[in-house]
C-alpha cells in the first residue's frame, strides 16, 4: 500500500499535489469567501441559508481534498472522513426531526 520512500512522499504514500494546485485552491477560496459575503446581502428568500451552506461545503471540500491531500489518500482515510460527516448528520438531523414534528399531532383523539 505504501509507495517506496523518496521524493515528495507524504504521510501515507499518496503523491503531493503540485504548487500550482495550492495557489489555485487559495484563489478559489478567496473568491468563494467574497461570493458568500455578497450572496448574504441578496434577498434570496428561503434560499439564503442553502446557498451559504453550499459555498461553505465547497470551500471545505477544496481545503480537505487539496490542502489536506485527501485526494490520493487511501480509501480508508476517505471512508473515515465520510463516516464523521455522516455521524454529524445523524446527530443534527435526528435531533432537528424531533423539534420539527412536535406540532404535528392533533390535540384530541378523533
Amino acid at each position: 500500500m505504501s509507495a517506496p520512500g523518496g521524493h515528495g512522499v507524504n504521510a501515507h504514500g499518496g503523491g503531493h499535489p503540485g504548487l500550482k494546485s495550492y495557489f489555485g485552491v487559495f484563489g478559489a477560496l478567496m473568491v468563494l469567501t467574497a461570493l458568500t459575503v455578497w450572496a448574504a446581502f441578496q434577498h434570496l428568500g428561503v434560499w439564503n441559508t442553502p446557498v451559504a451552506l453550499a459555498i461553505a461545503v465547497t470551500k471545505a471540500l477544496l481545503v480537505a481534498l487539496i490542502f489536506m491531500h485527501l485526494k490520493g489518500s487511501p480509501k480508508l482515510t476517505i471512508f473515515i472522513v465520510v463516516a464523521s460527516v455522516l455521524w454529524l448528520a445523524f446527530l443534527i438531523l435526528i435531533t432537528v426531526s424531533d423539534y420539527a414534528t412536535r406540532a404535528w399531532l392533533p390535540i384530541y383523539a378523533r
Binding site: 480508508l76 463516516a83 464523521s84 455521524w87 445523524f90 446527530l91 435526528i94 435531533t95 426531526s97 424531533d98 423539534y99 420539527a100 414534528t101 412536535r102 404535528w104 399531532l105
Partner: protein, 545 residues
C-alpha cells in the same frame, strides 16, 4: 514471610514484569502490558468506591423512611455511585485492561500503534478520576450521573463543575484508547492475520473503538457547555433564558446510549473467546458474530431517543427511535444464539471462566429481553424512571459486563501474571456472585413495575419486603466480589507457575510464554490457519509431540 526455598531456581526468564523494577519503570512505561496493569489497579480502586456507595444505598433502602442519611447526602451517594461506576469503571474496564493487554498479543504485534499516547491515555484517566474523587471526598454533587439540566446548571449546589471537568478529561482517555485500538488493528496485524482470521475479541474491541471515537466527543462538549453555563451563567440549557432542557437530553443520550454499548461490546468480546475456548470447538457463525459487533456499533447511534419517550419528545421522533431500538436488539440475539450453538457437540469444561461465560449468557439474555419492555413506547411510559429500568441496566452491566470482565480476568490471568489462580475458591466465588446478583436485582424488576421510582430516599411501606430482599442480595454480591481480589493477590505470591498455554486453546497470545516478554514474541509469528481451528492445532501438536 516464609523462608526462601533452598533449591536454587533455574536462571529466571526475562518477562515484562521482571525486566525492570522501580516506580519509574511503571509510571513511565510505554509497554501496553504494564499500562494494562496500571489500569487494572486504578479501575479496581474506583470500582471499590462505587461499590461502597452501592452498599450505602442498599443499606438506606432497608427501611421505607430515610433514616440513616439526610436526603441531601443520600442524593450525593447515588450520584457518586453512578459517576464512579459509569465513567471510571464500566467504560474503561475491559477495553483498557484486557484490551490493552491482549490486542497486540492476539494480532502478533510488538505493541499498540502509539505506545506513548497509550500512557497519556492512562494519565488522562487518572487526572480525570482523581478530580472527580477529590470532588466526592469534599462533598460530591447531587445531580445524578446524568447531570440533567436545569437542575445541574442552575439549582444544584455541589461539585458539578469539578466533576464535569473530571469526566471531560477521562473522556479523552477513552477517545485515545479507542484511537489506539482502531489504528493498531488496521496497521499492525502479523503476516497472515487477515480480517477473517482476526480473533472475535479484536472484532468487538474494534467496534468499541469506533463507538468511543464517534460518541465520546459529544458528551465532552455537552459537559463543557454545562460547566460554561454554571460558571458564566449562560442560558444554553436554562429555560428561563430560552434554553431547552430536552436539547441537553438529546446531546447527552447521543453519547450515553452508545456508551452502554462501549460497556457491553467488550464483554461480548470476552465471552466469544471463553465459549469457544472452553468448548474447544471453533466458534459457530464467526462471520455473523463479527458482523453483529459492527452492526451494533453502527445502529447504537440511532436509538438514543428511547430515553426520552416521556420527556416531551415528539411522538413521530419517538416512533423512529422505538423501531430502531428494536432493530439494535437483533444483533445481540444473533450473538447469543451463535454462542449457544458453539457449545453444541463441543468438549465443555467447567473451569471458572466457563462458569462466568455461562452465567453471562443467561443473565445477558434476560437483561437484553427486558430491554424490549423499554423500547416499546406504550410500556416505557409506565416503567420509565422506575426500578424496572435500574434492574434492566444492572442485569446488562453487572450481570453482563462485570461477569465477563471477571471471566476474562480468570481466563487470561495465567498470561498476565504467570501464575494459576486457585480453581476451588474461584468457582465458589463465581456461584456466590451469581446467586447474590440475582437476589439483588430480580426483585427490582417487580418493584419497578409496582411503581417505585428511581433515586428515592424514602418509599411507601408496601415496597419494603422486596427492598429487604435486594439488600440481602447486595451483601452476598459484595462478598462475592471481594473473594477474587483476595485470591488474585494470593496467586501472585503462591500460585503455581503457568505454562504458555495452560488451557490448551488456540490464539496467538497462547503461543508466547506466560508472562510474555516485553516484545511479546521472540520473532513475529506467521498466521497460517483459521481462528479457533482446534483440529489443525491438535494435528500440529501431534506432529510436534
Amino acid at each position: 514471610m516464609s523462608a526462601e526455598p533452598e533449591v536454587i531456581a533455574p536462571p529466571r526468564r526475562v518477562d515484562y514484569l521482571n525486566v525492570r523494577y522501580g516506580v519509574k519503570s511503571w509510571l513511565l512505561t510505554t509497554d501496553h502490558k504494564r499500562i494494562a496493569i496500571l489500569y487494572l489497579i486504578s479501575v479496581t480502586f474506583f470500582f471499590a468506591i462505587g461499590g461502597l456507595m452501592a452498599a450505602l444505598i442498599r443499606l438506606e433502602l432497608l427501611t421505607p423512611e430515610g433514616d440513616i442519611f439526610q436526603s441531601e447526602f443520600y442524593n450525593r451517594i447515588f450520584t457518586t455511585h453512578g459517576v464512579m461506576m459509569v465513567f471510571f469503571f464500566m467504560i474503561p474496564a475491559i477495553p483498557s485492561v484486557l484490551g490493552n493487554f491482549l490486542i497486540p498479543l492476539m494480532i502478533g504485534a510488538k505493541d499498540l500503534a502509539f505506545p506513548r499516547i497509550n500512557l497519556l491515555s492512562w494519565y488522562l484517566y487518572i487526572v480525570g478520576a482523581l478530580l472527580a474523587f477529590y470532588a466526592t471526598v469534599h462533598g460530591g454533587l447531587d445531580t445524578g450521573w446524568t447531570f440533567y439540566t436545569p437542575y445541574s446548571t442552575v439549582y444544584a449546589n455541589g461539585w458539578v463543575v469539578l466533576t464535569g471537568v473530571g469526566v471531560f478529561i477521562a473522556g479523552f482517555s477513552s477517545i485515545l484508547t479507542g484511537l489506539n485500538f482502531i489504528v493498531t488493528i488496521h496497521t499492525m496485524r502479523a503476516p497472515g492475520m487477515t480480517w477473517g482470521r482476526l480473533p472475535l475479541f479484536c472484532w468487538s474491541m474494534y467496534a468499541t473503538g469506533i463507538i468511543q471515537i464517534l460518541g465520546t466527543p459529544v458528551i465532552a462538549i455537552t459537559l463543557l457547555l454545562v460547566v460554561a453555563e454554571r460558571v458564566f451563567h449562560l442560558g444554553i440549557f436554562n429555560p428561563a433564558q430560552g434554553g431547552d432542557p430536552v436539547l441537553y437530553q438529546h446531546l447527552f443520550w447521543f453519547y450515553s446510549h452508545p456508551a452502554v454499548y462501549i460497556m457491553i461490546l467488550p464483554a461480548m468480546a470476552v465471552i466469544s473467546e471463553l465459549i469457544t475456548a472452553f468448548s474447544r470447538k471453533p466458534i459457530f457463525g464467526y462471520k455473523f458474530i463479527a458482523a453483529s459487533s459492527m452492526a451494533i456499533a453502527g445502529l447504537s447511534f440511532l436509538v438514543w431517543g428511547h430515553h426520552m419517550f416521556v420527556s416531551g419528545q415528539s411522538i413521530y421522533a419517538g416512533l423512529v427511535f422505538s423501531i430502531l431500538s428494536f432493530l439494535v436488539a437483533v444483533p445481540s440475539a444473533i450473538k447469543v444464539f451463535n454462542w449457544t450453538a458453539t457449545m453444541y457437540r463441543g468438549s465443555v469444561s467447567y473451569q471458572t471462566p466457563m462458569l462466568y461465560a455461562i452465567g453471562f449468557i443467561g443473565l445477558f439474555t434476560f437483561g437484553g429481553l427486558t430491554g424490549l419492555f423499554l423500547a416499546s413506547m406504550g410500556l416505557d411510559i409506565h416503567v420509565h424512571d422506575t426500578y424496572f429500568i435500574v434492574a434492566h441496566f444492572h442485569y446488562i452491566m453487572v450481570g453482563g459486563t462485570i461477569m465477563a470482565y471477571l471471566g476474562g480476568l480468570h481466563f487470561w490471568w495465567p498470561k498476565i501474571s504467570g501464575k494459576l489462580y486457585p480453581e476451588l475458591w474461584s468457582r465458589v466465588s463465581a456461584w456466590i456472585i451469581f446467586i447474590g446478583f440475582n437476589l439483588t436485582f430480580f426483585p427490582q424488576f417487580i418493584l419497578g413495575y409496582l411503581g417505585m421510582p428511581r433515586r428515592y430516599h424514602a418509599y411507601p411501606e408496601e415496597f419494603q419486603v422486596l427492598n429487604v430482599l435486594s439488600t440481602a442480595g447486595a451483601s452476598i454480591l459484595g462478598i462475592g466480589y471481594v473473594i477474587p481480589l483476595v485470591y488474585f493477590f494470593w496467586s501472585m505470591r503462591y500460585g503455581k507457575d503457568a505454562s504458555a498455554n495452560p488451557w490448551g486453546v488456540t490464539g496467538l497470545e497462547w503461543q508466547t510464554p506466560s508472562p510474555p516478554p516485553t516484545e511479546n514474541f521472540p520473532e513475529t509469528p506467521i498466521v497460517t490457519n483459521e481462528p479457533y481451528d482446534y483440529l489443525t492445532a491438535a494435528r500440529e501438536a501431534a506432529v510436534r509431540g
